[in-house]
Amino acid sequence: MKFEKIESKIAVLPIDNVDTDQIIPARYLKSISKDGLGEGLFRDWRLNADGSPKPEFVLNKPEAKGVEILVTGDNFGCGSSREHAPWALVQNGIRAVISTSFADIFKGNALKNQLLPVVVPADAHAELLKSPWAVVKIDVVSQKVTLPSGRTVEFPIDAFSKTCLVEGVDELGYMLQQDPAIAAFEAKRVGSVNTLL
């Protein structure tokens, strides 16, 4: 699947350090497939104990229907390495998260699941926080975000991840093609454990 542009209303969750236990609590991690993980998204912020929705939570508002971009506070996705977090976001239609920074493991996991982590400068972030439900455009190819004011800001993405998203490159397929180099490395390798001994 190629991933070039997003144009969507933004949902704003102005909280720093949103951890992966909030994005999807551990009790949803017992599944052996990816199916149905979307139900666990922000479970304890989104729903009451009896399963009824909390109307004040941003993704429960009527405007949130069809939203593809989430704007959050700094250091989004910190904590556990669970890839269930991007899986749950994607299963709820989120295609990009905009913040001032992301936790490393979450960022890597997101990029492998067609979920775009977008880091913007503080002033652009401040504008977005003040513009819930405004329409924002993200262009992956030119690495630009068009803010509600019409101003555009650039965002960083490493060249390889960008190619994988835009061209639909299969990362594992690419790695398997490196087999000769891997075999050559293994032939020279010294000092190793053997877990099967």
């Binding site: 102005p14 909280i15 720093d16 350090n17 951890d19 236990d21 909030q22 609590p25 551990a26 009790r27 991690l29 017992k30 599944s31 052996i32 497939s33 990816k34 304890d44 104990a49 506070g73 700094d74 250091n75 910190c78 904590g79 556990s80 390495s81 669970r82 890839e83 920074s101 992301f102 936790a103 490393d104 493991i105 890597g108 996991n109 492998k112 699941n113 490493d158 060249a159 390889f160 190619t163 990362e171 594992l172 790695m175 398997l176 490196q178 087999d179 180099a181 891997i182 490395f185 293994e186 390798r189 010294v190 000092g191 190793s192 454990v193 053997n194 877990t195 099967l196 001994l197």
Partner: protein
Amino acid sequence: MSQRRTIVEKIWDNHIVTAQPGVPSLIYIDLHLCHEVTTPQAFQTLRDRGLKVRRPDLTIATMDHSTPTTPHNLPILDLVGKAQLDQMEKNCADFGIRLYNLKSDKQGIVHVMGPEQGLTQPGMTIVCGDSHTATHGAFGALAFGIGTSQVGQVLATQCLLQQPSKTYAIRVEGKLQPGVTAKDIILAVIAKIGIGGGTECVFEYTGSTIRGLSMEERMTICNMSIEGGARAGLVAPDDTTYQYIAGREFAPKGADWDAALARWRQLPTDHDAEYAHALTLDANELEPMVTFGTNPGMGIAISDNIPDPASVSDPIEKSDLVKALKYMDLQPGQPLKGHPIDVVFVGSCTNSRISDLRAAASIIKGRKVSPKVRMLVVPGSMQVKKQAEAEGLDKIFRDAGADFREAGCSMCLAMNGDQLEPGEYSVSTSNRNFEGRQGKGGRTFLASPLTAAASAIMGVVTDVRTLL
């Protein structure tokens, strides 16, 4: 080459398979640790694509996250959790991977089992689908947590595509005062730099205090590197490291040992090598630490008061602190010491090794757990459990009214049925105090095994120095 390198750069250079412009470096992985929660979808990818595990001899699995801590010969009542454990058995059998299952006397938390078996060795690259993989950095290994897609990539290719990390020296100098432990050092570091402070970095813990720590204490510190946002954390190997490894099952033997030792001695950071960031901490000034909020950076010395949002200027930071105090139902400006608690948990990959259990038992011995408190002691592995029983620690805990259980992650992340009830407060030796981490609505104060044990006795958050 005259360039001075840090240990992180040396390990990195030793593992580059290919480095091409525009593509992250392809890095070889020496050891892949697996557990039941983050691997099923990766094995499914291998099946879907008709792939094999490239190096089952560099891969090992255990069961820890979903495992009950009730006796392992009893039937598992949680059928969803059981299905995950059954799938792990099947995946390891189908792909030829050694598994320490619930019947094995080597089963345990993946980050306790690896070092204990001598699998974790200096200079290695080690990965696991678990953010606390940095624990293995205590041995001078570059060890980091990965997602499930990457678990699949490592299973299939024994490699990862990685960008180099920035280096971050954390120097701890001086002598720890009585009652102050490795856990207090790392909680103080995280309180200082914040939970995003180490993003894109690898911490190297150094300085006289770190040199004086045991391997288990170093593991506690490296374990929580992710809580400071770092990709990994490590300590350069020294004689303490080599003495710990020697003679363990997977440690090199004979001439291989001598060759390994010669290689390992080359690893420490060169004199005058430069780091991108550095922080120095004075161990003499540290007190026992405890967290009050909903992330591990929200920590204070036990004699300090809970911070006041009124003193915070950044609007999001302020509202986060207000939100945390509301969730925890705590008042700003008040001491945390003396706050009533319901549960004490001694366990997790941070603090469930034999020295942690000995520390907790030293406080518990001859005393009783407060009748208001439920105390769980969960050894990190079946080997730790066996050792604790040989030393009579199980009896000390049980005589005091605590519950001494089977090995696993248990109440650190509450996947296995060991959990807090909504509104309950715990003092926990684990690594995360996120909302609901130990059970929906539960509230966690992170602390050392000494502080946890003292709090269990008194029934309130306690300064352990009053019981020494």
